[in-house]
């Protein structure tokens, strides 16, 4: 698909006081502690929807039903200004991301967010314009479901079955409740975290690179300023313009990663785009060599354990040769 979308790199700082599943404040739909849900169920399966290469979760926020983009490239909850314009702001902040126009960001408090059986109450959210995403994808988008909402949890993204599984963890990062069916993961890799953004190391052209794990990116991204040994392994297949929020034009190169390995396993070929990530690196406060988006997550079933700080990939049979 020729579309790349890297939803909001909002510079929301982790805010104290917000609630995530697994904490005492988490309640079920019925108002009971989440541990009481469905006979002490400690895991939940959430159906994923697709809009292009975006993954959507449906949820209810302050009695409004709509879609949220699962966006591990966003640090927290980001809401669409169209529907939350009149919420009372508690703070102002500047937006950040990859490219596009400047947009003001407000921070509000959300009373209640419900995603399947996950309930979040009294949590902060950034409010910023996202109408252009709706217009391009034709679906109502209430906001972005970012990383801090998954803290202390394990998530399993299974695109083949279009589902997201969420598991509660103990303090050591093991799943609560009865043992889950054993899944043999082909790759297990440590992940780093910085400002609620996940990073993982991968190797291209003999160079170890830092990639941001971003379910909100409709394509992988590789920095155009990467080492020549890295770029030398990439086949560039076309070049195209880039539409920003305010009709800014940039350009990107589309290519194929002919060498990409993680945990000594090759994962090729994989489509990518090449563009400047200087601004994003500056915004994150650390250098970024690339982003792993849709093409990466489509390689198999991927778990991300945010307590153990590790991820695993169970490659699809056709990838596991």
């Amino acid at each position: 698909m020729s579309l790349l979308m890297c939803p909001a790199r909002i510079s929301a700082k982790p805010a104290p006081g917000y609630l995530v599943p697994g904490m005492l404040e988490c309640v079920s739909i019925s108002g009971k502690p989440i541990n009481d849900l469905q006979g002490n169920t400690v895991g939940v399966t959430i159906p994923l929807k697709r809009a292009g290469r975006l993954f959507l979760l449906e949820g209810t926020i302050d009695n409004m039903i709509g879609n949220f983009i699962l966006d591990t490239g966003a640090s927290g909850l980001v809401l669409n200004q169209t529907y939350f314009r009149n919420a009372i702001a508690v703070d102002d902040e500047e937006a950040g991301g990859v490219t596009g126009s400047t947009a003001s960001v407000e921070r509000i408090n959300v009373k209640r967010l419900l995603i399947s059986d996950l309930v979040y109450t009294n949590m902060p959210a950034d409010v910023t314009p996202l109408g252009h995403l709706e217009n391009r994808r034709g679906v109502k988008i209430l906001g972005l479901f970012g990383m801090s909402l998954l803290k202390n949890l394990e998530m399993v993204i299974d695109l083949r079955n279009n589902e997201l599984q969420i598991f509660r963890l103990d303090r050591t990062g093991n799943r609560l409740g009865p043992p889950s069916p054993v899944v043999k993961y082909d790759i297990i890799q440590k992940i780093g975290e910085f400002h609620s953004i996940m990073f993982v190391k991968a190797t291209i052209g003999g160079k170890v690179l830092d990639f941001c794990l971003d379910t909100g990116a409709e394509s992988n991204v590789l920095s155009i300023t990467a080492h020549k040994n890295v770029l030398g392994t990439v086949t560039i297949t076309r070049r195209s313009g880039l539409n920003g929020v305010g009709q800014d034009r940039g350009e990107v190169l589309f290519g194929t990663l002919n060498e990409f390995s993680m945990g000594n396993r090759q994962m090729v070929p994989m489509e990518t785009i090449l563009c400047s990530l200087t601004a994003m690196s500056r915004k994150y406060g650390c250098p970024i060599d690339g982003m792993l988006g849709y093409d990466f997550f489509a390689k198999g079933k991927i778990y991300i354990n945010l307590v153990k700080k590790e991820m695993g990939i169970c490659l699809k049979p056709e990838e596991n040769k």
């Binding site: 159906p47 009149n86 596009g100």
Partner: protein, 477 residues
């Protein structure tokens, strides 16, 4: 001499053959090295090959032309390109990569590339076929009027079951199923048409194993399909027949597809038929016959007659007066502005034509003895001066205030932002405009005597690319 000429001819042929054999290896056209974006181009490429490379890699035609002229430095769209000959046939065209100044200066947020994603609205799917018959292997869908009851057998251990499909914009939350003795059930009110769906059983997308109708879901799986019926063919009087089919314009007169079912002495076939007028016949044990219960038949142009029936509400185009006119025609975008087809019938006080139109927005005029006139009884006009008609409108744009305005327009994504297409009418203190809108998101504005404004009564709006705002409206499926 002859030998020299023959040798030259052979040489030229070799050259031209060699030139024709220069292929474009797209994998080697572009690379990035030492901070430069480099295109390796070949002077032997044909014009179509150069054009294709330019298209794929977004190179301006003037830039390519200058490059092939081997101009050492070329400025294109504010960027400086350089050329460098690398051998007899090939040269490099390069520019500095990774320095997009305009992007560096912005506080970046989201970027989108032009894409080929095509959104399919549910109305497009609902009316995307002219007919449809369900193929369930078990009686799990019961229809009574527009109300359908879905039944999912089994799944007794499931805790939550939803049905999700084009009827609810694929919501995973809005249509829960209720447990019953032997499974799960839900009732829905739907408009006639085609729908795709899946079940969600404890969070997992699940296909309907009792439904043989399926379509690729574009994500390596499939959706099940069902039709909400709106018509039933019935044939009486042939109880001894062995095989009865119905065929018509809706299925291109297929002679073997739609087999009717024997039911209480009659032959019946319930199905979905798209709104409009349909010609049809029955085939009874191989013999074609019109519908004996339908008096409306028309010649088929081959010496036979077909039965005709209409689905949908009948509209009556009426024109008062013009009693001396010899011929009055209705012409509009619904019949491609045909000037002969729809002749109106003379009545005691004017002219009239019954006609079936599907829900939608139309424009039309009358042709009275060759003279085009708007409908004097219809106050809604388009910018081009035609009468405007919205059949079964599902939304009324409304603007309060501005009673003294001379001209109020509603413009938006639904009419390609036409600045004079949809003129509102002033009634009872407000400006109104009826419209049939497809499900999904619509953005719009009002233009009051030339001044653009968002809808003051709608608190949903968003920024647009011009630095102003558009009102936002969602139409549910």
């Amino acid at each position: 001499m002859r030998t020299w000429c023959a040798w030259m001819a052979t040489f030229i042929l070799f050259i031209s053959t060699a030139a024709a054999q220069v292929q474009v290896d797209l994998k080697k056209v572009c690379h990035v090295e030492d901070g430069r974006l480099i295109f390796t181009l070949d002077l032997r490429w044909s014009a179509p090959q150069r054009t294709e490379v330019a298209r794929l890699f977004g190179l301006d035609s003037a830039l390519v032309s200058d490059a092939y002229a081997l101009k050492p430095v070329i400025t294109s769209n504010g960027k400086v390109w350089k050329t460098l000959k690398i051998d007899l046939h090939r040269f490099e065209l390069s520019m500095e990569a990774g320095k997009d100044e305009s992007r560096e200066e912005t506080t970046e947020k989201i970027f989108l590339l032009d894409d080929q994603w095509i959104k399919r609205s549910s109305i497009a799917e609902r009316e995307s076929v002219s007919y449809g018959v369900n193929r369930f292997t078990r009686n799990i869908l019961v229809q009574s009027g527009g109300r359908l009851r879905f039944f999912l057998p089994g799944q007794k251990n499931a805790k939550k079951v939803f049905i999700s499909g084009s009827f609810n914009a694929w919501s995973t939350l809005q249509t829960p199923m209720q447990p019953c003795d032997s499974g799960w059930t839900v009732s829905m009110n739907l408009k006639p048409g085609k729908y795709s769906y899946k079940f969600i059983i404890d969070g997992k997308w699940t296909n309907d194993s009792y439904n043989k109708l399926r379509e690729n879901d574009t994500y390596h799986g499939y959706n099940n399909i069902f039709f909400c019926y709106n018509y039933k063919f019935v044939l009486s009087g042939v109880p001894d027949a062995h095989k009865v089919l119905v065929t018509g314009s809706f299925n291109q007169w297929n002679e073997s597809e739609l087999r009717m079912i024997r039911f209480q002495g009659n032959w019946v076939l319930p199905l979905y038929l798209r709104e409009g007028t349909h010609a049809y016949k029955f085939i009874v044990d191989g013999t074609w016959m019109t519908d004996p219960a339908n008096k409306v038949t028309r010649p088929d142009g081959k010496g036979n007659r077909n039965s005709f029936m209409g689905i949908g509400d009948t509209l009556f185009f009426t024109l008062k007066g013009y009693s001396n006119a010899k011929k009055v025609i209705v012409s509009g975008n619904f019949n491609a502005w045909n000037q002969e087809e729809l002749a109106m019938d003379k009545t005691s006080d004017g002219w009239q034509l019954p006609y079936v139109l599907a829900p939608g927005n139309y424009e039309y005029k009358f042709i009275v003895d060759g003279k085009w006139i708007t409908d004097p009884s219809n106050t809604y006009k388009t910018g081009s001066g035609n009468s405007y008609l919205s059949v079964k409108p599902n939304y009324w744009f409304r603007l309060d205030q501005y009673p003294d305005a001379g001209k109020v327009i509603v413009t938006g994504s639904f009419n390609n932002w036409s600045t004079d297409g949809s003129r509102m009418e002033f009634h009872q203190g407000s400006w109104w405009f009826p419209v049939f809108l497809a499900p999904g998101k619509h953005t719009y504005k009002f233009i009051v005597d030339g001044k653009w404004m968002v809808d003051p009564a709608n608190n949903l709006w968003e920024n647009n690319e011009y630095g102003t705002n558009n009102s936002v409206l969602w139409i549910e499926p």
